[in-house]
């Protein structure tokens, strides 16, 4: 159970947010739904800045985290970064994806004005200290929009902020090894095989009515084409992401 369970209106959707953060509650107040919609529904997003202490002294302390369902979006002691990322994620709900663009799952890392798109599971690592020491700044969002034609990555400003959107060139993006093993990785031989390996990075649509039907199929096909275009323009790196 969350200390605070909010329902906010973002565009055409009512979004559930659970949190123990009073500041987030205050930041989301302008978007609070006037009436409860499906109040028993599990919150879509969560921000936990004060996880329960370990039962035993020898157990590690849980880090603060932001989540989409049970998917960890970010895990860090930097509460401001988690709050920033969640607000950017909420701002991206319902963003129109114009033809030619593709939304990819992953953790964006800013460095030298560019973006390294790390695999999604990197967000759940306990420590990104080595990355930060190397100058990478994580933005704790679950996905980003990429323009294959310009290789620009777009991350919206936090919900309610007039400025602060990010538009930076994609430096590199990562896919896991085909076999999942380090020593016997088999690189994809063709563009089609590489595209098939990359499709798990395609972010699902935000809304249920975008899951099927002619409009959904057309949008999904456009996203697949954009993914293939991105692979041709900037082939992904394949292997274990490790800085």
């Amino acid at each position: 159970m969350w200390p605070h369970s909010l329902q906010i209106v973002v565009g055409e959707a009512v979004v559930g947010v659970g949190t123990d953060d009073d500041e987030l509650v205050a930041r989301l107040a302008p978007w609070a739904a006037l009436e409860a919609v499906a109040p028993s529904r599990t919150p879509d997003f969560g921000l936990e800045l004060h996880p329960a202490p370990p039962v035993h002294r020898a157990q590690p302390r849980a880090l603060p985290s932001s989540q989409h369902g049970t998917l960890v979006i970010g895990r860090t002691t930097d509460a401001a970064a988690l709050r920033d990322g969640l607000l950017r994620t909420l701002a991206s709900i319902g963003e129109m994806l114009t033809s030619g663009l593709v939304r990819l799952n992953g953790l964006p890392l800013l460095i030298d004005g560019q973006v390294v798109l790390a695999p999604p599971e990197v967000a759940d690592r306990g420590s990104l200290r080595r990355l930060r020491n190397a100058g990478h700044v994580p933005v704790y969002v679950p996905s980003v929009v990429v323009d294959p034609a310009t290789l620009l990555v777009h991350i919206p400003a936090p919900l309610g902020a007039p400025t602060g959107s990010i538009a930076a060139p994609l430096r590199e993006w990562w896919l896991p090894s085909i076999t999942g093993a380090e020593n016997d990785a088999v690189p994809p031989r063709t563009l089609g095989q590489l595209a098939a390996h990359a499709t798990p990075l395609l972010a699902p649509p935000w809304f249920e009515d975008e899951l099927d039907g002619p409009a959904a199929d057309a949008a999904g096909t456009r996203a697949l084409r954009a993914l293939i275009a991105l692979i041709e323009r900037l082939p992904p790196r394949i292997g274990r992401f490790d800085r």
């Binding site: 089609g192 595209a195 935000w206 697949l224």
Partner: protein, 132 residues
């Protein structure tokens, strides 16, 4: 009855007289001389080699398979029976994978909106978060 069975039974004259359609829920795109077929609902992706890619793009739901095979045979300079022998198993595998259907067999999508409280406004509903 599986989709592959329905392909078999669709025509008493044999499966090659049947027209076949790409399943409406799949997304596909050209990748070089291959075709990538992505099925989000199944989290599955298929890569079709150049010959299968050509066959896939001929599935219009109208042209009977034997006509498609005859056209391909002419393009490749081989007998239609050869094309049918090579391609019919591929088409059956597409039915088994759920990416091909007999026209008229798909089910329309249901409504995806949720009514909101007393205001009567209909809100768009978010896809359930992971693991819910």
């Amino acid at each position: 009855m599986t989709a592959a069975d329905s392909f078999q039974d669709a025509s008493t004259a044999g499966p090659t007289v049947t027209a076949v359609l790409q399943h409406g829920a799949v997304r596909w795109a050209l990748a070089g001389n291959e075709v990538v077929v992505h099925v989000p609902a199944l989290a599955a992706t298929h890569v079709l080699d150049p010959t299968a890619a050509m066959l896939w793009q001929c599935l219009d739901g109208v042209s009977p398979m034997d006509e498609i095979f005859a056209d391909m045979a002419e393009a490749f300079g081989v007998a239609p029976e050869v094309v049918e022998g090579d391609c019919l198993p591929v088409v059956r595998s597409w039915f088994q994978a759920g990416i091909a259907v007999v026209p008229g067999s798909t089910v329309p999508a249901d409504e995806r909106a949720v009514g909101g409280g007393n205001s009567g406004r209909v809100w768009r509903r978010l896809v359930d978060p992971p693991s819910t």
